[in-house]
Assembly symmetry: C2
Homo-oligomer: 383 residues x 2
């Protein structure tokens, strides 16, 4: 029996032949299944585009031999192979199926992932935040990325990033400093150290977190692979924060993907005089609903959304409130302040009654006044 | 005949007695008219709140004598009095009537304005932008305010601000440097120089723009008057930009008023590490729809809204386009980029047809591609 008979390594060998996320291959797999697709590739009876990619790589060898090589090189570099049927597979990656943009070819979910490190992939990814940004970052940007990552890690949110110099490495570093796990997603095989300047950091990530790649060992980080890789960063995490980015940058690409995946997209601002911040400021004016964040609390608020769920299970049960107060509370969203007028309009309760309810709710510790507006008291859930 | 018989000076004397924007006085004037209201004040048969304010100021004198004094002091300091019936009155101030927030007493439109300077008030105000911010600004903030004001002035947009040290003065300065008029709205009588550090600047504003106040000469800039004054800055201008602000600051008060007046509210970001920028960054998370701007073009775009009006009169008439392209173009808003998918959803045109229209419109110079999205070509109106 060859490795090719194991679905795991059959998927792996596909990644040695055809770039991850390839829509045509994904459609073939959907139509014919894994075994038959391998047969079609071996025969060369796949669409011209795919045949172009596979024929040279299969010249003088065959799928079985290639599978054995991939399996051996994987073991040699200390990696393991994760596939979608594994219990430890991050289900969130399936959301990539909603990317239907015709102009990009490599949008589909990963077929498999090479993994190095001690962490459990699905568990670490579940409550993770992507922090991405410029390779050519400023000391300000590095500081912001590291601080944000540190504070998020301290609150139980690991950071996903791309291992690049600049913002990526600052974010990984901040997470490690807080003792948290972090995930670096590479655009090259895990036997390569790229960039070289990350060698020490990647060692620490391996011991404290996870190194990931969609490509088998031996794969070089070609330029187009960063764009393919970015979708994994966007899909793996619960939300993406861009810290510094030029107007044209890979971080803005990751940001767009996060928005298209309906993940919260956030950015930290910087001086308008800095070209490194021009790309994040443009995000604020793009139609993707990017939110400005300045601290970990903002990020967690934007990712976890409404606080109404923990509140309903709080020790101050809403059941004891009258109907008007109930409806007034329903008008509050996490972190937002609202005016009595807005509440009146939204709830249909007369303004005078809204004001009475607000005073009652204030006495009970549910809401607090801020200028002439009101917000939910954040600590009520644990109070 | 005393000055009191002239409605202009009768309105002026009211401002010597009762703070501008007072809702109770405004309601009295609406109910009884100017002459009868003056009679009620003289008799002391006005609501207790108003009587408290007027009785001490009328002790040992009367309305006619007070009117003569106000008139004389106005002339002495070289000011003129503008009233709502003047052709040169900025009609936009009437929008203050939509402020219906019960918790603030001084929200109504100005009854009259003391004016010094060479500019024409309504004309200068019409295309004006308010730039406000911290008194305790950083060199970065001063730089941003001055540059933004300069660039806006060069494009024909005068700046309205409050004459305070810090951001206000930097903004006035930038406008003057560009040769444009600027409007300083004070919380004190125009015979006072406050702050002293603005003396030279105010002289230049008087020669090149306008100094405004709702208070008669002799009025001191008490703390509560800044809050009353802020509504004039917000209402007079077509939109408000906050450049630097602490979390609690007058600039944030002006910002809230601008938002309540449905004026575009904007802010320039700064380093997240700067306490001076914390208040502007909070604006981005407040529910007021504040827009991030980094340059004059952003501000003008946010204030003037859709570009469809100038485009319809362009030398590339839309009339020559087919129906599908028409409907595709209707999906574009100034400065926003949209995806073919969004256009398809919004217009009801199949995606394939949208893509064809976009290519056609691109060849004709109407739209341009940006990453995988499209935006209106900005210069098409003049092309």
């Amino acid at each position: 029996m060859s490795q090719l008979d194991e679905p795991r390594w059959a998927l792996a060998v596909l990644s040695a032949l055809i770039e991850p996320g390839d829509r045509d291959l994904d459609d073939l797999l959907g139509e014919h299944g894994l075994e038959r697709t391998l047969g079609l590739i071996q025969e060369g009876t796949v669409p011209h585009r795919l045949r172009q990619q596979t024929s040279s790589k299969l010249a003088g060898t065959n799928l079985a031999r290639l599978a054995a090589e991939v399996c051996a090189s994987t073991k040699r570099c200390g990696a393991r192979l994760a596939v979608p049927s594994d219990a430890d597979w991050p289900q969130r990656l399936r959301d990539l199926l909603i990317l239907s943009d015709e102009s990009e070819m490599y949008t589909r979910p990963p077929r498999c992932l090479w993994v190095r490190g001690e962490g459990r992939l699905a568990e670490v990814a579940d409550r993770s935040v992507a922090i991405v940004g410029s390779r050519n970052s400023t000391p300000y940007g590095d500081h912001v990325a590291a601080e944000l990552a540190y504070d998020l890690a301290k609150r139980g949110w690991p950071i996903v990033s791309g291992g690049a110099i600049g913002i990526d490495q600052a974010a990984h570093d901040g997470t490690l400093a807080a003792g948290g796990p972090t995930v670096a997603v590479f655009a090259n095989g895990l036997d390569q150290t790229y960039p070289k300047r990350g060698a020490g950091l990647f060692d620490r990530i391996r011991r404290q977190g996870l190194l990931l790649s969609e490509w088998p060992p031996g794969t070089r980080p070609h330029r187009h692979r960063f764009l393919i890789r970015n979708r994994v960063i966007a899909a793996l995490s619960a939300g993406t924060v861009v810290v510094e980015a030029e107007l044209r940058s890979g971080a803005r690409h990751t940001a767009r993907l996060a928005a298209e995946l309906d993940r919260p997209l956030m950015f930290t601002p910087g001086p308008v005089t800095s070209a490194r911040s021009a790309g994040v400021h443009q995000l604020a004016r793009d139609p993707w609903g990017a939110r400005l964040v300045t601290r970990a609390e903002d990020v967690i608020e934007d990712i976890s959304g409404e606080v109404s769920v923990p509140m309903r299970t709080s020790t101050r049960p809403r059941d004891s409130l009258d109907e008007a107060s109930h409806r007034v509370l329903d008008c509050f969203q996490a972190g937002f302040v609202v005016s009595p007028r807005d509440i009146s309009q939204q709830s249909g309760i007369p303004l005078a009654a809204v004001n009475i309810s607000l005073r009652d709710l204030q006495k009970l510790g549910w809401v607090e006044q801020r200028d002439n507006r009101w917000r939910m008291v954040r600590t009520v859930a644990s109070g």
